[in-house]
């Protein structure tokens, strides 16, 4: 039944029921607020209504609508399903995909209010963030991702058909285990195109001709056998060593891989690269989306387009999502990115509009500027979690959250409280907190450093150990085995302390005999 609204009535919907006209009406009203009032800039939206079952499906393949097949996704599905069926956990209300058009999945079970909340949150909040944040702009190709996944799925299915499930599974297992160490962390020099290449070659030749002197011919050549360090350097440079992107290195250099295996490694590492910005911006992304839904729902309520009761429902889920238990609470499970992100966005908006004297000292460039939306848009575009916390965590936030810095050093007999929310502690807490969001500190820094392709072909990697935290031994052994299987020869991983240069631990692995 389609609910007839009075012509004079401003409410977008009544009651929990919705249909597609309602959805469209809600979307259009939200779009008004988002684009006109908040100045958001979004990809075109595509909203897809799915069932709970389909939501579970989507979960198990990283939320993507299409993904190649692998047993680990089946495992995740089984896990989610068990949790869901036992009623231990809820499903997410929404999944949103960083693509152009931006695809948002919403569940059919949700009430009209929840759908409004979700559309505001995902289709505008996340969407704006995807389109404008510099990391996403730099690293992900929103236009191409769905086509690429389609290609990947087809390619891997074809490989399974041609070379057998087992073979493909072996490569995928190995690639997945190295996935998190297979992203380019820094934008690389773009490859010179053919024309510049040719120009450089010509210049080099001209230079040689100018420098030509027949006398050089008579100089005795370097003796064979002792490779000079310059040659060594040259060899490493040709292999692009040291290399932090392990799969990239294997794809380009591993001597024994077949072309299809290289292509699979490439697929896995490109997908890892696609998800890399998401890991670095979880806090900001959720903060942005939560702030957007909060702003939008409030605006709709103020305009009388959402009834009081429905607004209460929205605020109820909003507070659930942004709940942060304190560290000694039994339900404490780390810092809730929704809670912290939202609190910081609200704090920034407050500083922009009604700053205190303290805020003026700490944030001279935008305190009291007035344009909260503009300031936030700038923040969303130009920062990632680490720099965001570093720049914008205000003393007031630290006091409100009663943050403290705890130092856990195994060389000391006890934990020490290093800083609390006082004048002396603000900056230290902020620095330590920012580090918790720095992927460079969270992920192990592992690099391929050397290989002698002409000799025994043993691959040597270094883990630059930070703060004396070594790698998890058992898992590392397994990953090394995978690595050796891909490489085809022995591999050696040395864990080296960055401060002292001492080798703390070594992991060896030999490849399984082929077949």
């Amino acid at each position: 039944m389609i609910l007839k609204l009075d012509p004079g009535e401003r409410l977008l919907y009544r009651g929990p029921d919705w249909d597609f006209t309602t959805l469209r009406r809600i979307h259009d009203a939200i779009e008004q607020v988002a684009l006109k009032d908040m100045g958001l800039d979004v990809y075109p939206n595509q909203i897809e209504v799915i069932t709970a079952e389909q939501m579970l499906d989507a979960y198990s393949s990283s939320g993507m609508p299409l993904f190649y097949k692998h047993w680990s996704f089946g495992k995740h599905f089984a896990q989610h399903e068990t949790v869901y069926r036992q009623g231990l956990g809820d499903l997410a209300y929404e999944i949103v995909i960083n693509s152009n058009p931006c695809i948002t999945y919403i569940m059919e079970e949700n009430t009209a209010t929840m759908q409004a909340l979700v559309i505001a949150h995902a289709s505008f909040g996340h969407n704006h963030f995807f389109k404008n944040n510099y990391l996403f702009k730099q690293w992900t190709d929103a236009d191409g991702i769905l086509d690429y996944l389609d290609f990947a799925k087809g390619f891997i299915a074809e490989c399974e058909e041609r070379y057998g499930h087992r073979e493909v599974e072996r490569v995928l297992d190995a690639a997945h285990s190295l996935m998190s160490n297979s992203v380019h962390r820094y934008p690389r020099r773009s490859r010179p195109d053919l024309r510049t290449e040719e120009k450089r070659e010509r210049e080099r030749r001209e230079h040689e001709e100018r420098m030509y002197n027949d006398l050089w011919r008579t100089v005795p050549a370097a003796r064979d056998g002792a490779p000079s360090s310059a040659l060594e350097e040259h060899r490493k440079a040709l292999l692009q060593l040291p290399q932090e992107n392990i799969l990239y290195f294997l794809e380009k250099t591993a001597p024994r891989l077949k072309p299809w295996q290289r292509e699979i490694l490439r697929i896995v590492r490109l997908i890892a690269q696609y998800f890399y910005p998401q890991r670095q911006t979880k806090l900001m992304n959720e903060g942005c989306a939560t702030w957007c839904h909060y702003r939008i729902m409030t605006a709709l309520h103020e305009r009388g387009e959402i009834s009081d009761g429905d607004f209460m429902e929205a605020m109820h889920s909003h507070t659930n999502v942004t709940y942060q238990p304190s560290f000694d609470h039994p339900r404490y499970n780390g810092v809730n990115p929704y809670a912290l992100g939202f609190a910081m966005m609200r704090d920034i908006a407050r500083i922009a509009v009604e700053p205190t004297q303290e805020d003026r000292e700490w944030f001279p460039d935008f305190a009291g500027k007035g344009d909260a939306d503009g300031v936030l848009r700038d923040v969303w575009a130009n920062y990632r979690d680490e720099s965001f916390v570093m720049q914008f965590l205000s003393p007031r936030m630290i006091r409100d959250w009663r943050l403290f810095h705890l130092l856990d050093d195994t060389n000391e007999p006890a934990l020490r409280v290093d800083a609390i929310h006082d004048e002396r502690g603000y900056r230290r807490i902020r620095r330590a907190f920012a580090k918790q969001y720095d992927v460079a500190c969270l992920d192990a820094d592992i690099q391929v450093v050397d290989v002698d392709l002409a000799g025994d072909r043993r691959l040597i990697l270094h883990h630059n150990v930070l703060n004396r935290v070594l790698l998890e031994t058992e898992d590392t052994g397994r990953v090394m085995q995978h690595l050796a299987d891909l490489w085809g020869y022995d591999v050696l991983l040395k864990e080296i302390d960055t401060t002292t240069g001492m080798v703390l631990k070594e992991h060896h692995a030999k490849p399984h005999p082929a077949g």
Binding site: F20, V49, S60, W401, D422
Partner: protein, 433 residues
């Protein structure tokens, strides 16, 4: 903005992933299924359910920093009374209170638990079980027919209309009878309309009208689709050779069988029943229970009714022989029997039982399994000098000379599944293990 309704899209998109997962963890899942079936009621067997496998087997290793050792910084919310420089004794279990650096997927050592569907569960459970020596295959008339396509017929139900064939007939008939095409009529009508507008050439107009008339009549007389064009896909029954098999379930319900013993026996039969129902759709099952007399009963009575009396085993075997003679000709049927008893028998009946079994029943049987149920407190070393039951001793004389005869003892619920598997394991699978 687009709104797309995906609810009608086929679900189960990750089915392929699930199959890969089960295949990957096959050995583990199989063991888990067998282990869990031990604690499970027979009724639950039909339900599938949760199993746990060691997470080690389906581990996805990554290079990550260990949760122990080194220097770690934690920034935590909710400070109550700490001041800078306070020291806090280190909580046990390392990692610090924050644990924010801990492994994100929780403990690594726990079992990985997940739900198997009923089919998956039973398939794994009943994997490589089969009725041995299912040799006699025969064409059976009525029940086991397959419907196969059998050309076309001129009558049938609308659902079976063969559209392509019908249209082909219609087309050839229209060509053969020279049915005017519709564009001819349209052309004529246009021409007439034009002439009418211009008002000239009345003769030609009349001529055209006349030929349009003829055309129309002809089109009406020769219909576009005529009932004689209609063709329907025809299906014909096709008898399929099936192996006919009958399973005789012989259970002792006499007074000497205590409740736990009966329970064990019933569990065994329930398992057998599930196995047969799922694996062999065309297996007949005959239930015979006996005290000092034997009678054929239905499934419900067999599993649920309570009755007691003395014990004369031969009555059951006689009853079975009678039913075989009456209904299941050994030439056409694969005959199986499973007998459960506590081993008590009237002393003067043992010889008769052995003779009956050997001369009458075993020759017509593909397989005869004897299950002796005992109680838990009985000494476990049955073979070594302790008291073996009358029936057990009697049957032992038969066992060696008859390859189709098997006997096992069961003393506890948890033995039921292994013994069942042993009795019905596929022969080549057994050889392999």
């Amino acid at each position: 903005m687009h709104i797309v309704d995906r609810r009608l899209n086929p679900g189960g998109k990750s089915l392929g992933n699930r199959q890969r997962f089960l295949r990957r963890a096959q050995a583990l899942v199989r063991r888990a299924v067998r282990d869990s079936s031990r604690d499970r009621g027979i009724r639950d067997m039909e339900k599938g359910g949760e199993v746990g496998i060691p997470s080690d087997g389906v581990r996805e290793p990554t290079l990550r920093r260990s949760a122990q050792g080194g220097r770690r910084d934690h920034v935590l919310p909710g400070n109550k009374d700490f001041l800078e420089g306070d020291t806090i004794p280190r909580p046990d279990g390392g990692g610090g209170r924050g644990g924010s650096q801990g492994s994100p997927d929780g403990g690594g050592e726990d079992d990985f638990r997940f739900v198997l569907s009923q089919d998956e569960f039973l398939n794994l459970f009943l994997e490589d079980l089969e009725l041995p020596d299912l040799a006699k295959r025969k064409l059976e008339g009525v029940e086991h027919v397959e419907w196969r396509r059998a050309g076309y017929s001129v009558s049938g139900s609308p659902a079976n209309l063969a559209l392509l064939r019908t249209m082909r007939n219609s087309l050839s008939r229209r060509i053969a009878l020279k049915r005017p095409r519709s564009d001819e009529a349209v052309a004529l009508e246009n021409e007439i309309a034009e002439l009418e507008r211009e008002g000239g050439e009345p003769d030609r107009l009349a001529l055209l009208r006349e030929s349009l008339n003829v055309l129309d009549r002809r089109r009406r007389r020769i219909p576009y689709i005529d009932p004689i064009d209609l063709r329907y896909r025809q299906f014909a029954p096709h008898p399929r050779p099936v192996a006919q098999a009958v399973m005789f379930c012989l259970m002792d319900v006499s007074g000497s069988m205590t409740e736990p013993m009966k329970d064990l026996a019933k569990r065994f039969y329930a398992l057998l029943y599930i196995f047969l129902k799922r694996r062999y759709r065309h297996v007949e099952i005959v239930f015979i229970r006996h005290t000092h007399t034997a009678e054929e009963v239905d499934e419900d009575d067999f599993f649920h009714s309570t009755e007691t009396g003395g014990t004369v085993v031969s009555t059951a075997i006689e009853e079975m022989a009678r039913i075989v003679a009456e209904r299941f000709s050994p030439a056409d049927w694969n005959i199986y029997a499973a007998q459960a008893s506590d081993g008590d028998n009237a002393p003067n009946d043992n010889e008769r039982t052995a003779a009956l079994l050997k001369d009458t029943v075993l020759p017509v049987c593909q397989y005869y399994a004897y299950l002796e149920v005992g109680t838990e407190d009985e000494p476990s070393s049955i073979g070594l000098g302790s008291r073996a039951s009358d029936l057990w001793r009697t049957y032992e004389t038969i066992r060696d000379s008859e390859p189709a005869f098997a006997m096992r003892k069961v003393r506890h619920r948890r033995d039921i599944f292994p013994v069942f598997r042993e009795l019905f394991q596929r022969r080549d699978a057994k050889a392999a293990t």
